[in-house]
């Protein structure tokens, strides 16, 4: 994966498959604590303890189309190689939460990349789902809440290409004010 936004897109695909109706993404940058953390939480079907124990094994997947499941293991490896770690909690019927931390100053920490494009593509492809994206830095906080967006757009679809373009710009403009 080229950057963290692609990892995030990949991990959220699991929430889509788990039939979540709400996915929350929190990104927290803290220079004082040298911390770059990402939390992804969904209200999907969750996982059993047996599956949870093997979820970071690259040769384990619940899919039937192939025999490998690299998404979580790649992210875990990436975090551990750059001074961080990854943890997952899940409960069947309730949902799943993933926390991944990186050292903010680590030279090999992947950049965030096009997070605006990622969030908008996820929303456009899954218009029935809701996403909350919170990004905190020492300069402030931005919250992209798709429930608010849908209220504003009313009957206009979030999948409309023009709307998607404007939503990307909305996220980028607001992130520019808080990202250091």
């Amino acid at each position: 994966m080229k950057d963290l936004s692609l990892h995030i897109m990949d991990i959220i695909q699991n929430s889509v498959r788990a039939k979540a109706s709400l996915v929350e993404l929190d990104i927290n940058e803290n220079q004082k604590e040298d911390l770059y953390s990402i939390t992804i939480k969904d209200n999907g079907c969750g996982m059993s303890t047996e599956i949870l124990e093997r979820v970071c094994d690259p040769f384990f997947t619940t899919r039937t189309t192939r025999k490998v499941g690299l998404g979580l293991s790649l992210l875990k490896q990436n975090a551990e190689q750059t001074g961080g770690n990854m943890e997952i909690w899940s409960e069947e019927g309730k949902g799943t939460r993933l926390d991944v931390c990186f050292s903010l100053s680590h030279i090999d920490r992947p950049v965030l990349g096009d997070i605006a494009g990622t969030m908008v593509l996820l929303l456009g492809a899954n218009p029935e789902m809701d996403f909350i994206y919170r990004h905190r830095t020492e300069k402030g906080e931005y919250i992209f809440d798709t429930k608010e967006i849908k209220e504003v757009l009313e009957e206009v679809s979030v999948s409309d290409p023009n709307i998607m373009q404007y939503l990307k710009e909305l996220i980028k403009e607001n992130l520019n004010t808080i990202i250091i």
Partner: protein, 131 residues
């Protein structure tokens, strides 16, 4: 493009767009539209599926093609990612492999616009999958 910094800006843009588009007609008749599914599992994303999906959304809108571009999971063709499934109205879906933006452009111009087949079809007894 007008600047969008707040929900108020978005509301203004929506009202402008609404007067130009007939979105209800599009969403109520998906079978009459070109349906494009981009495989967005780990294999696809790592191979550039996001750029391809961005490109397809942009290019179909700009060229006035009535299409729904959405995502799907891994179709099992990890060796040929990024892969896309294209279903023209009234026809069986076709899967194309190794699709970069150049190939996507060719698929739009030749297959979607003119029904002309192009290289890159994954020739298997393929059945569409929902996930």
């Amino acid at each position: 493009m007008a600047k969008v910094k707040s929900l108020a800006d978005l509301k203004r843009i929506k009202e402008e767009l609404q007067s130009k588009m007939d979105l209800r007609e599009k969403s109520n008749n998906p079978e009459g539209l070109v349906q494009i599914k981009v495989a967005m599992a780990t294999c696809g994303i790592a191979s550039g599926a996001k750029e391809v999906m961005d490109f397809l959304i942009d290019v179909t809108a700009k060229r006035g093609i009535q299409a729904v571009v959405t995502q799907t999971g891994c179709m099992g063709y990890c060796y040929a990612e990024p892969t896309i499934e294209v279903k023209l109205p009234g026809k069986e879906p076709i899967v194309f492999g190794d699709v970069d933006t150049k190939k996507a452009d060719e698929i739009v111009e030749k297959y979607i616009k003119n029904g002309e087949l192009v290289d890159g079809i994954i020739p298997v007894n393929y059945k569409t999958i929902d996930n």
